[in-house]
Symmetry: C2
Subunit: 242 residues, 2 copies
Amino acid sequence: MKLFDEQAFIHQLSIDCVIFGYKDLELKVLASQINMSRSFWTLPGGFIKHEEGIDGAAKRILEERTGLKDIYLEQYRVFGEPDRVNREVFEELAEVRDEWVAKGILDDANIGWLGKRFVSIGYYALVDINKVSPQKTELDDSVDWYNVKELPTLIMDHNEMVGYALEALRQNLDQKLIGFNLLPETFTMREVQELYEAVYDRPFARNNFQKKILDLNVLERLEKKFTGAQNKAPYLYRFRRE
Amino acid sequence: MKLFDEQAFIHQLSIDCVIFGYKDLELKVLASQINMSRSFWTLPGGFIKHEEGIDGAAKRILEERTGLKDIYLEQYRVFGEPDRVNREVFEELAEVRDEWVAKGILDDANIGWLGKRFVSIGYYALVDINKVSPQKTELDDSVDWYNVKELPTLIMDHNEMVGYALEALRQNLDQKLIGFNLLPETFTMREVQELYEAVYDRPFARNNFQKKILDLNVLERLEKKFTGAQNKAPYLYRFRRE
DNA sequence: ACAAAAGTGTTGACTATACACCCATGG
DNA sequence: CCATGGGTGTATAGTCAACACTTTTGT
C-alpha cells in the first residue's frame, strides 16, 4: 500500500509540529528517525487535505503520532524560504528510491511531489508525556523524545523550527496559562516550578514562585501527597478549566 | 495582457497584507476596491513565486502597492480554514467573467486557479503614510486608507485578518520598538503619544508617557520645533537605528 | 500678563525579589 | 530530636500611575 495519495493534499504546503513533553526535569521534543543509507531525524509533519482546515490538519497529524485527541496546539510561524529544501536528504532519498518503490512505500508520483519546494506551517503542541505512546509510520525507524537542549541535528530547518517554537512557548506560558498541559492531572507545586525552570532554563525562588502561581487563581488545592520522604507532605493541585 | 501567469506561483497559497499607516490621530489600513457588478473591498495580496521566499514575496507585493522598499513587515498568522472562500464574490466573478476575459485581464486558466481553496499567510506592515502613493492594479477601482475602527466590510475573512493584525501590532509595539516606522523621520513626543493612543485606543498620561519612551533610550533629541502656536516649542526627536 | 501646552519633579500604590521563619514528615 | 523539604510571612527595592509645579511661546 502506497504511503500517501498526493492527490488528496494541497501542493507544496506542509505542517510540521514541535510536540513538547516534560519529564525528569527536562523539556522534551518528539522527533522521529528515518533510516536511509544514513539516518535522519525529523519533526512529525504532514500535509493538508483539500477539504480540511489547517488547525484540523495539525490535529489529525498529532493524533496519528501521539494517539491523543484534544491536544493543546497553536500555530506559531510559517517557514517559507526557498532554500529550505535539504539537498543532502533528497540525495539520500534518490539512493533508496528504487528500494522503497519496490517495497511499495512510495511511487514516482509521490517522489516527484515531495521533491518540490515546500512552505511549512509550524505548530507547537503541549502534551502530558505519560499519556503518549509515540506511533511510528512506515518510514520511521524510531520515534522518541529528546531533550530540547540536546536535540540531534534535524533535517532541513527543523532545528530552527524548534528554536522559534520554544520562543513562542516561553512567551505564552504565563500569559495563556498553558503550562499545565505538560503536567499530569494532579501535581505538586514543586513540579510546576521545575517545569517552569526547564522551559525558561533558569531557577525561580521557591516561595515567590508559589505566591505567583497561586495568585493566578487557576489551581485548586487537593489532598496532600505522602511520598514516604522524611519531610512535610506537599499538596496536590489540579488545574481548573473554565 | 493577462493579469498574472498562474504557472509562476505556488498553488492554493496566498499572502494578504495589512498595511498600517497613521495620520490625523487615526490608525489606518490600506484597502482596495474592486468593482464587479457590486463593489468589494479587499486587502492587498498576492502569490508566491516558485523561486521566492515568503518574506520576499510579501516585500514584492508591498512594493507593488506602496512604491516603497525597505518596509517593516512581519508575518503574524496563517488563515487556512476550508470555508474561507467567499461564495458571494465568486458568484460575482462568474458574472463579470466573460467581460474580463474579453478585456484580456483574466483567462480561463486564471479563473480556475483562483477558484480553488486558498491558505493565506497574513503579514502586517508599518509605513510612513506620507511616503506612500497607493498603486492601483488593473482590477482595482480605488486604493485608499481607512480608519481601522471604521473599516468597510472586506471580502472573505479579511476583516478578521485586520483584527488579528491589530492584536499582533499591539503586542509588539512596545516590545520591538516598531512604532516609529509609522511616523516620519522626525516627530514630537506628542505625536508619538497620539500614535500610541490611536493604536491602543486609550489615553496615556502625558508625563509618564514621556518618561517611559525616553527611558527606552532609542530616541535622540534634536532642535525645537517652532509651530507658531503660543506655547512652549516641543523638541523634535529621531529614532536611533542600530 | 495671559493662555496653552511642553517639560520635569514628587508622591503613593503596587509588584517583584530577597530574606527569614515555622511546620510536617519519617528515620 | 534531627534532617529535609514544604508553606507562609515580612522587609526591601524597583516599577508604574497620579498629582503638582515650572517653563516656554505668541498674542
